[in-house]
Subunit: 335 residues, 6 copies
């Protein structure tokens, strides 16, 4: 087995961590990518209450699970997003949202991210996965016209708001891994290039490779691994199924709900979609990635309790032992 | 398990129903889609002989099998087909063929269809699957030229001959489900639209979704489910494998026998071909279809006794439990 | 010649209408689709000042040009868009923007749209093309999660704000033709279906077929014509070139400027891109569309004065005389 | 110019030959492929009436036109077709149809074909293009089941009926060139192989390469030229446009009229479709074909008087002068 | 089970034959395709030393393995290759290489091939698989220019050098099966045609179907089986995975090592790549091939001890029992 | 007009430069990319004989032609190629070939390249286009196995042999532009990366963008321009037509002659193939390339005297005037 396989807990946030751990261990996962949800890992409490933090570890230990990364997608999203609205209030939690004043929310969210780095350190975890939000995502349609300076400012805003957070990460020896995703400062290949440049490619900031949103944007997830080889800090497996072209299904989802078969694409349990996971795992090995493969399980057409172990089985079936020698090295005839 | 899986018995008509039932039950099927072949279900006898009808049920009960639909493809084919020839005689059976006079055959075949509805009722079955034949299929090449009035008349002929049959279906509370197929009044998407219009979209007439002939005609079987959502009355699974283009293999089959690898496409056991069954089953759920998935097993390259259980296994592997809630419903942070 | 060809004036708004008319006539256009820009057609002034309105006509007459539609994309955009920001101020003009209060701007923009209908009537024009804006476009990424009720409300907001405007259009006997476009209530096929339903498919509201944004979303512009046949009120020709997949160029444009060759697609002069204009013009004839073909010229790689006549030449080359009879009607042998 | 370009007159059969000749010459054609329609070339009369035959030549001479082939598609169709119905009556003409008795019609049609060979000889023409009909075309759907022996018999029926005709062709030194086409004994690649074998590849029987029906069947027209190199006796240019897949448009045409944009494919004027004519003309040269390129003009969306000269212009633009030497023969450095 | 499955031993030449046999038998293989490597089968010794030859058989017998073919790729390669260099020395072995004089090496390699036929005969094996080398492969780029006469001479050189070897094969009643491959006289479809013609299609020379190098050259491996039906003497299964186009990965491998994910294609364990093995096995049955399916296992991303049994499992899963009757033969209604 | 268009003279080397100049000027070319062939530009003589050099200029001046680059493909090829054989003797010319000793030929060819730089300088030309040859091209098939060290040595050999030549280029202020091509040290994307690294990306060495060999290798010529933006020193236009897949035509050309339609691809006159020249020219502008577009005319199916002016017309038709401003810059409403 070349990589441990973990379960990302965000999609199970309605269950206590104990239950998620029990399920995951029962299915054979090696560990959890714990989401900083209050039901799973409350960062405020973890910094204030040693017993609480210890309880998190004990839950893992009891089930023989490890942790290589923790996630804080929701708080990260609030750092740069513009505007902030009811959607953000829904994911922020009352402590961060507070009175809802825009800069207040952003400051509290940024603080949550630094706390997340500190909790990671305390848990012996080197990587925090998550989102950044974006000041300019909403201009993606480019009408009404958007001057180039506005786009430039969006990347600078990202750098202004995240560099201080990343300084704390550096202090803790923890790295942040952005999941490239619509709504974020980087949502495809060239925005990733630009985002990395905006923070001078500082090592504290890397990527959480999740191919699901690359597929429908025509971004090759294997190319992504190879070209950003030194920035692949974590791997999330979510699969996407592209429907064959019918001239009606659109790339943007048509404001249709997840699982509506009229959508042009949808998330499916890893192995049921179009992500070339075998190629991707080979590419990850080629760049020297040795971390976990984490299953972020989202599929509107399956019960998650059937799906998660199915996805685990699929992923493990592709994690071959790697060879000791080149196959053609034995062709030499010596006698 | 979201749908029962049945075996269509037409491809096993050389065996007595008892044997088919034993095989199917042994492989794990939930029921049979019984073909009205004399070896399986003789409609004349079933209406005249209560004991015979009871014996059919007992065979099923003995093997723990249910029945949700019965089929009468052959008799339906004779209702509209033009001309009738040796091929029709072969499938008609001597009772329907009689002296072979064209309108006589058609009348007897129509009567067989009404009898099939009555037998279905007696068996507690709501759906009869089958064919319609077509007066205009043979003009498909459009040379020598075919006036529009001839095409119009073809659809009207279908309505004239089938409306009285459907009246009997309505009387019995049974629905007819046409398998869209070359040789029938509807063989693709737009002919299905036109056929439905020809009978004013009366509810007695719906569709038996079978994707196998859609594939090589470039009809998207998932689109078909969504656009004819209120007319999908039954589901037959037969798979089709399209050969990659080589400039020689044609879409029309080149008068080559099934299984000849020079054909541009061929039927294969469900799961070995190009039908997107996972997408299709999700679409069926989205339109509220709750009926059986019936395996119509045809593959010229496999023994049917190896193939049928293989196909069952494949189909069942895609019938996931459906979820209780949206995956993103748990993202809200409450505390 | 089956359709007149007009030039859309929005891309020439820096020039006085006189100059645009002279250029267009010189290149051989049959008319203009006049944008309600102050340099071309100031609707406030046109309603208050008969001489001004007359001057517009005289400019056209002097150059032998006709007008079949006028456009007011910018004001329409302001009616529903949310939030309104610097981009909207830039296109609103000071009269509509006023103090910038959100509902104030929306009300003034709505009034501008009703005025546009009245001006159209006075000019003898039956169609106003334009945008609607959208309350929900910005939720397109669906993260943070967006409840279904929010999407529903977006379509209802559109209906609430546009129905009163359309009442005025009805009063004037003028129709509104929405250009389906990102940022609008309808940006693809299924959002168009939903938008039409939201206003009960009232005849005052139809579509300005512009294929350019359909191409990169995988929407078939010919299917669009056929399926929305009774709602195609106007035709704008803008072409789009899709770059072959390279795994890096994304469908969303990567916040890269128009004309940047790293984009996955870009606008090009009609005829240089992937829009199947020949198929589209045939489809337009088949649905009985008899209006103008209007060239909306946008191409970041060509000078507009070279491009507009080039595009005109291309479009005209596809506007064949239609046949008098079916080609196979002469195959009958009479003697 | 490497090949003369002719106009096939069948699509102009409502006009007297004089008018067609005048039009064709005016557009710049080099000759006519004259259809044996009574308005153009009445074979009975031509064999009985020397003056009539002379008049045909004079019409051509007057307009500077040549003739390399004459066509008799309609009569050929009647030789094998089964059943014969109203469609055949429409194309047969009263003399061939007579009392309509099946074998009577077939015999008279066969005689017309032998007469066509004799007329060709008298006109100094070596090639007759046309159809054969088919006893088995109507079994193309393969349901109701069709035994292999029936297919075998179809090819044998073709041989039985055509060998005597071809004997007359041999006697006259004229060759027959079948247009591979649905409804004929050969409609794709493998049926062409089988048809040629059925008559032992006798030289009197060859092919009229017309790519239009190959396109939608996925037959590569260039492969066809290369693989049947010794049987390409004539070339007809008709173009076909395949619509992009939309999951609804079918390969079989859906009983929709020519020109209906919901069809999956349609005929278009040469150069507007998907036939790779440049590749094809190069392939024709490579096999040593030196005959005419004949334009069979069919396009439901264009007036034929606009279309024919447009197609001529397109075809001529691809008939380059061929080179004298290999381009890399000059790379040798001699001093 | 329709075909035995064997393991090709060349990729295991660093292990003694005993070990390979034990492994293969343990995994369930039916036999070995033994490579004439000194560790597995030393042809010189086998002809001189009966006990040695017997020991080879005993190893197989002990493990219940059969042998249908032996291979001598390396010696065959030396027969025609030009120039011979360090690469050839590496595979030649010291006995064949000797003093390294070009014609000396070629003569000794040719003798090894005749010895291989003799050993095959003694082992009761009818088929020797292998390579031929090529005098003209190195001119594949066609710059500097290559006269046609040079190409002609390459095929003649092949015939001159191989005909005497094939005479010995004929004498022994053994057939040679060339693996079509870059570096060989036949590396694709048309070079195979030409190579067969060069030796007048003598039956002693046939093909070892290995699809792996066909895939990246766009050669359809199923077409290959059908078109060379009478020359398919053996089957080797090696799979190839083509990476999706990204505009940078090239077809020629870019001098990148096997397993480098920047390559445009790579070898993978059978079942993980793009070879249509199901179609291919059906085609092999259709041409009457009854020999073994041999797994030539090469995958730079897997340990061979995990991969070989995995590939065996995949291949066996496609070797269905073939049917006894046509599926539609039971549709006839007899009573 | 954004770029001058030149004619590359290598394909006209059988004609005196005077004749080529007259032809090119007559067709409307702006200049010549002169091949250092003795008939066009003899570098030895040009360095020794001022009058000769002056005569070259006068020929150009007389016809109003300019020169931006000269080419020496043949001599460059000899610098690294291994082995050298009859093909090289054919292109070397007797002075370079001399006694044919390998290192002698290489040294003389290297000297010719330095002389070419000196002649360029004297002609006021900044760029020499050409080939490099390659020590490792012949190992492209990777069988017999090729150790990584051999590949490494191939790039080092290139650096060793070319760095001294490039030193002379630097001294003259002239740049060398390699045409990426099979047989050269760089034949695709990744070999170009590696070749540039081998010489430390020294500015004296850049690329002559010629898309023709990229097409069949699946290299995107536009990506190539963008990724090697600082190394595009010259542009050669040769087009390539890829035949649709037929399962028989291979990517490697099958040792078939240019123009054989069974090849999988072939060179065609610019505009008749698959190179996306419009996209490419836009990309060239985006990287700031301001040099000539040179037509390297090779098409086995056209006479060069028809083809060259045809290609010129095509290329010019895509060299649009570039715009003065962004099209959406005029959307702002100021009053």
């Amino acid at each position: 087995m070349t990589h441990p396989v973990t379960l990302f807990t965000a999609q199970w946030a309605d269950l206590p961590l104990e239950d998620v751990a029990e399920l995951a261990a029962g299915w054979g996962f090696d560990g959890l990518e714990i989401a900083c949800k209050t039901t799973h890992l409350d960062v405020d409490r973890a910094l204030e209450d040693e017993a609480y933090l210890r309880s998190r570890r004990e839950i893992l230990d009891r089930h023989g699970l490890s942790v290589w990364a923790i996630s804080n997608h929701a708080q990260g999203q609030l750092v740069c997003d513009d505007p902030l609205d009811f959607r953000h209030e829904s994911i922020a939690g009352p402590r961060t949202w507070g009175d809802g004043s825009v800069e207040g929310v952003r400051a509290r969210a940024a603080e949550q991210m630094t706390k997340t780095a500190r909790v990671a350190r305390k848990l012996g975890v080197d990587t925090v996965t998550g989102f950044t939000g974006s000041k300019i995502w909403r201009y993606v349609a480019m009408y009404p016209p958007v001057p180039a300076a506005v786009i430039d400012d969006g990347y600078e805003d990202f750098a202004r708001r995240w560099n201080p957070i990343l300084d704390v990460f550096d202090g803790e020896g923890v790295r942040f891994a952005l999941e490239v995703h619509p709504s974020e400062i980087a949502y495809d290949y060239w925005t990733t290039v630009r985002a990395l440049e905006a923070i001078d490619r500082r090592p504290a900031f890397g990527l959480n490779w999740d191919p699901s949103h690359m597929m429908w944007q025509d971004i090759d997830p294997v190319t992504f691994i190879l070209d950003f080889a030194d920035r692949i800090y974590h791997v999330d497996c979510k699969d996407t199924r592209i429907r064959p072209r019918d001239g009606r299904a659109g790339r943007l989802g048509s404001h249709l709900a997840w699982g509506n078969p009229r959508r042009g694409w949808d998330f499916v349990s890893a192995g049921l979609g179009d992500v070339p996971f075998d190629d991707a795992f080979r590419a990850l090995d080629s760049i020297g990635y040795t971390g976990p493969i984490s299953i972020e399980w989202e599929d509107s057409g399956m019960d998650r309790r059937s799906g998660a172990p199915e996805a685990l089985k699929h992923v493990r079936s592709l994690l071959w032992d790697r060879p000791q020698q080149a196959f053609d090295s034995v062709f030499t005839q010596k006698s």
